[in-house]
């Protein structure tokens, strides 16, 4: 039993926006794998809920004419991992969301919820940062597109307005074509785990040199983050272990992990270096890079 005033199943995104607009206390829910757990703890108690669960217009993966890969926000993790488009163009994302919770969670939890929840430990976030994801939000005032790097404003906080619905996660063609990546999640166990630290790296190679690099972290600060300075410095560097290590040296300069009971700052910093080194090596290898010892 959950402490709710009501749960309204919206018929469309527009319907959801209107329902949210009618009551400023109304809260949006999709898969419910975060919201209902929080409700059980007494949070959002007695509120009216607007469910966008399973709305067809925001479910599924497709490619637009210009090559933009579009993931409907209400697509569950299991379907993302199983999508042939994801497997062909951004396999790292399918692998990343396959590390969320358990099979049961992945069958209902959605990528939109993972992002909108606003937490730094979201398993999809580092990969989406490393793939230059754009988020399409729809509200009473119309649509807008927000780069994921500008979406998070603090722990559990995003730029999404109360009556806005995240509809699409969009990945531009140039961000995945010829781009290879690796996400490494660090947890204390191999399933049912919240990330202690996560690192995603994407690379594009030319003549065994880096022509494009993205390094992103989860749980290395209050929000997921990109290491822009490190990325810029790495362009033009040759494929190899040395570059992977340099990438990690540079990347850790950009992060601000903190000590919590889950892990100390020092341990997270160490992991950030190790994970980046390994993710960079693996991404370069996937891109056809020759890594010698």
């Amino acid at each position: 039993m959950y402490d709710v005033q009501s749960v309204y199943q919206a018929k469309s995104v527009q319907d959801a926006i209107e329902a949210l607009g009618k009551d400023e206390r109304a809260m949006i829910v999709s898969g419910g794998t975060d919201v209902w757990v929080q409700n059980r703890e007494g949070k959002h108690a007695g509120l009216p809920f607007v469910s966008i669960h399973g709305l067809p217009e925001i479910t599924g993966v497709r490619i637009e004419e210009d090559g933009t890969l579009v993931i409907g926000a209400a697509t569950c993790f299991t379907d993302i991992t199983a999508s042939p488009l994801i497997q062909r163009h951004v396999p790292m994302l399918g692998e990343a969301v396959d590390q969320v919770g358990s099979p049961q969670i992945r069958n209902v939890g959605t990528i939109g919820g993972n992002v909108c929840n606003g937490v730094t430990s979201a398993d999809s976030a580092p990969s989406l940062f490393a793939l230059d994801a754009q988020l399409k939000l729809q509200g009473a005032m119309g649509e807008r597109i927000v780069p994921i790097t500008e979406f998070y404003t603090g722990a559990g906080k995003t730029v999404r307005a109360h009556d806005e619905v995240l509809c699409e996660v969009r990945i531009p063609k140039e961000s995945y074509e010829g781009v290879y990546g690796q996400y490494i999640k660090y947890g204390k166990r191999n399933a049912m785990e919240i990330s202690t630290l996560g690192c995603a790296v994407t690379v594009k190679l030319g003549n065994q040199k880096l022509v494009r690099v993205r390094i992103a972290y989860g749980v290395a600060g209050p929000t997921p983050l990109r290491c822009f300075e490190a990325e810029a410095e790495l362009v033009g560097k040759p494929v190899g272990k040395e570059t992977a290590c340099l990438a990690a040296d540079l990347a850790v300069q950009a992060i601000r992990p903190r000590t919590s009971w889950r892990a100390s700052k020092e341990f997270r910093l160490h992991l950030a270096h190790e994970l980046c080194t390994r993710a960079m090596e693996q991404a370069m290898e996937k891109a056809g890079g020759k890594i010698n010892d």
Binding site: A191, M192, I255, W261, E266, L269
Partner: protein, 770 residues
């Protein structure tokens, strides 16, 4: 023949189809729900409670606070009652408490018409406190006694015990053996929780002036006595019913919410009231495993002979005594039982109240803690001596015929050395130790092992008594009622097998009544220690022999032949000498019931006062791969070899070992309850409390060494708890072998490994920009 066969569990189909009924399934539709209000400080006193807001919640029925309940203090542990005052359990509980002794202590309870309304109202209850500093370890609690947790124990010390083995002291031995090497170590184990699937729950209602409590418990008869003590009611007015339960592991060998449920029905006119704990409450408001710290010293000769040991064990009890000092007393006994000090063993044990969740019984009853200490110590000594750890153990471990010098418990059926040898061979121990001797690089492998000894029942420390009842049905099948409880371990199945074996019928003719109801079930103290197949098995064997005799006496009458010439085999009365079938048991049973000449209801009831005990033992072997930069341990292989006497059901025995090894892996690598500096739990849920998942569990290999135990009713002895004991130190020793790093506290979590690897120079610390 039935004993020794791997028959399917008698409750398997019911459990997998959802037919089996658990406490919550049985609650009547009109049941009221009670929700506890928990203190939000770890140490102090409740000054006032305000339920004004709570009362406004729709469905609210009643608020009961710590100021309303009887002041009667009662004990909670599931021990047989001692008629000697000196040996009685500590009575330090009230139903709700004004004195707050742990974060989450029960200070009030809301009764409402639904669980949701009860939860909502409970959140709105406000309390004011006087607050004292938390006391988070045994040593800390012994050092800070300004506000003792219980008036009766002004030093926060529940008990101190001391024993020695040998004629001389450790210091004398040390003086005599100047050439000896000495190892000084502090080993620590953490607080873990049972995490049975079904959280603690009970509901109670009244029938006339009697109170009926239906509960998820391991010990219905003991619970009946405790409720009587808590409510100052004669025991005859209390009835406890135990249906199927979703695991216990010792947590439910304690009165958890039963006395409160029984009390609450009396304040609402006898209506049914359910007290159902959430997972979070199950972590903090039930019981946990004692965190024990061991300060140890050991002396060895250079040839590996163990000369003497001296240790002090500090056990953190939590806010209430529960099983109290029994745990650490049992824990330290393993030092004397598992190894032979040639000259001296000195042992002190302390149990102190702390402002932590109350510790109680948990699978292994203190032995997983001390086994971590003894087995780390053996490997640390072996390393110091440049000796193979198995050779060290074989030179110093317990031998055949061992008799405990204090309790007289005897190792009647000794299989330890064979367990070690069997595991050593199966694990290719010598080759692996050689292969892993000189590794470099980030990824390293190692093998380690640990041994243990474990007594089967609780005699002579406590009473061992059990009862069984068999009734012959008119179709020749039998009804079996045990006081002993099925808690998931397979007790009902092995009892059915024992009955079939001794009576001479097939298992399908045995119908076991799984539910215990104190109104009609035989008496038994319940599922704890590793006692039931041993102690309750003795009672059952007695009942089955008696039933068989009565059947044969009646058969003798019907067949007009001496009973001595007859036997029962395969559901038939046969001629004993050649097995020739004389009469179907079904025919005889029908005749006995309905005979116009001589109608007899054939049944047998037997109680057994067990005055014996015996040791089980075994060894666990682990092979690990350590990813040093990632601070992670992967178990490549784990093998448990058990000396548990004759197996009643080998498949169930193997499953028992799987569960125990899994628990041991959690203890070794993952599980620990964490608290902030105010004593508030941080990870009281199954996301943050890291039970190993299927993805973390390797294939578990199991071997047995079956030495028939002459005292076991069917040659059997303990297996329930032992599998959980040695995996953690075996894994720790494998990590030591792989990396050269000795971790002396549990668990070997990534954060801890990081700190150890930095200290050992295996990891260079990052500077970053912070």
């Amino acid at each position: 023949m039935s004993v020794g066969e791997s028959i399917t569990r008698v409750d398997a189909v019911q459990k997998v189809t959802g037919q089996a009924k658990y406490t919550a399934d049985l609650a009547p539709k009109n049941v009221l729900y009670a929700k506890l209000v928990h203190a939000t400080i770890a140490n102090g006193r409740v000054l006032s409670i305000d339920g004004g807001e709570a009362e406004k919640v729709n469905g609210f029925v009643k608020l009961v606070t710590c100021f309303d309940v009887p002041k009667t203090q009662f004990p909670t542990p599931g021990h047989p009652w001692s008629v000697e005052k000196a040996h009685q359990d500590v009575s330090d509980r009230t139903l709700l408490s004004e004195r707050v002794r742990l974060y989450g202590d029960n200070i009030a309870v809301v009764i409402a018409q639904s669980s949701l309304a009860a939860a909502k109202a409970a959140r709105l209850v406000k309390a004011e406190y006087e607050e004292y500093a938390p006391l988070m370890s045994a040593k800390e609690a012994l050092a800070h006694t300004e506000h003792p947790l219980h008036e009766e124990k002004p030093d926060n010390l529940i008990a101190h015990s001391h024993f020695t083995v040998g004629e001389e002291s450790y210091e004398q031995a040390k003086a005599e053996e100047p050439d000896c090497l000495e190892l000084v170590k502090n080993y620590q184990t953490q607080t873990v929780q049972h995490c049975h699937l079904e959280p603690a729950q009970s509901y109670a209602y009244m029938e006339g002036d009697r109170i009926v409590v239906v509960s998820s418990t391991q010990i219905p008869h003991i619970i009946r006595r405790i409720i009587g003590q808590a409510l100052s009611l004669p025991l005859g007015r209390i009835r406890v019913v135990k249906p199927y339960i979703g695991g216990g592991f010792g947590n439910k060998q304690d009165a958890l919410v039963e006395p409160l449920a029984a009390y609450l029905t009396t304040v609402v006119g006898g209506k049914p009231v359910m007290v159902e704990l959430s997972r979070e409450e199950n972590f903090t408001a039930t019981r946990v495993r004692h965190a024990i710290e061991f300060d140890t010293r050991a002396l060895v000769r250079r040839d590996g002979t163990l000369i003497a040991r001296k240790l002090s064990a500090y056990s953190a009890q939590g806010g209430y005594a529960s099983h109290g000092h029994s745990i650490v007393a049992n824990s330290t006994a393993a030092f004397k039982q598992l190894y032979r000090d040639r000259k001296a063993l000195e042992c002190d044990a302390y149990t102190a109240y702390t402002t932590m969740p109350t510790a109680g019984a948990m699978r292994g009853y203190g032995i997983p803690q001390s086994d971590f200490a003894t087995e780390c110590m053996s490997d640390d000594l072996a390393l110091m001596l440049h000796m193979d750890p198995i050779d060290f153990r074989l030179k110093n471990c317990v031998q055949a015929g061992y008799k405990d010098p204090h309790t007289g418990i005897t190792f009647y059926s000794y299989g330890l050395e064979e367990c070690i040898q069997k595991g050593k061979k199966a694990f290719h121990w010598e080759e692996k130790r050689k292969e892993y001797a000189h590794q470099t690089g980030d990824i390293r492998r190692g093998v380690g092992m640990a041994i243990f000894i474990y007594k089967t029942g609780v005699y002579p420390i406590s009473l061992e008594t059990a009862g069984a009842r068999l009734t012959l049905n008119q179709d020749g099948s039998v009804m079996l009622q045990m006081g002993a409880t099925e808690i998931g371990q397979g007790a009902d199945t092995v009892f059915s097998q024992m009955t079939a074996e001794t009576v001479g019928i097939t298992e399908d003719r045995v119908h076991i009544v799984s539910t215990q109801d104190t109104d009609y079930s035989p008496f038994d103290t319940g599922a704890y220690a590793s006692r039931q197949t041993y102690v309750s098995g003795m009672a059952l064997k007695g009942a089955a022999e008696l039933l068989k005799k009565r059947i044969l006496d009646y058969a003798a009458e019907v067949l007009n032949r001496p009973a001595e010439e007859l036997d029962i085999r395969q559901n038939n009365i046969v001629q004993a000498k050649d097995g020739d079938v004389l009469l179907a048991l079904a025919k005889l049973a029908e005749e006995a019931q309905y005979s116009l000449k001589h109608s007899v209801h054939i049944s047998a009831e037997y109680s057994h006062h067990c005055t014996d005990n015996t040791f089980s033992s075994g060894a666990c072997f682990a092979e690990v791969e350590v990813d040093i930069p990632m601070c992670r341990v992967k178990i490549l292989r784990i093998l448990a070899v058990h000396d548990s006497g004759t197996l009643i059901n080998p498949k169930l025995a193997e499953a028992q070992v799987h569960g125990g090894v899994s628990m041991g892996i959690g203890y070794g690598l993952y599980e620990e309850m964490l608290f902030n500096e105010k004593g508030k739990p941080l990870n009281d849920n199954l996301l943050d409390y890291k039970l190993p998942t299927a993805m973390d569990s390797p294939d578990m290999e199991v071997e047995f060494v079956q030495v028939e135990d002459p005292t076991g009713p069917y040659g059997n002895k303990a297996l329930g708890e032992p599998p959980a004991i040695p995996p953690a130190p075996a894994i720790r020793n494998a990590v030591l072998n792989a990396t050269g790093v000795a971790v002396d506290s549990l668990p070997l979590s990534p954060q801890k490994l990081f700190e150890h690897f930095v200290r050992a120079g295996l990891i260079k610390e990052e500077q970053g920009n912070v």
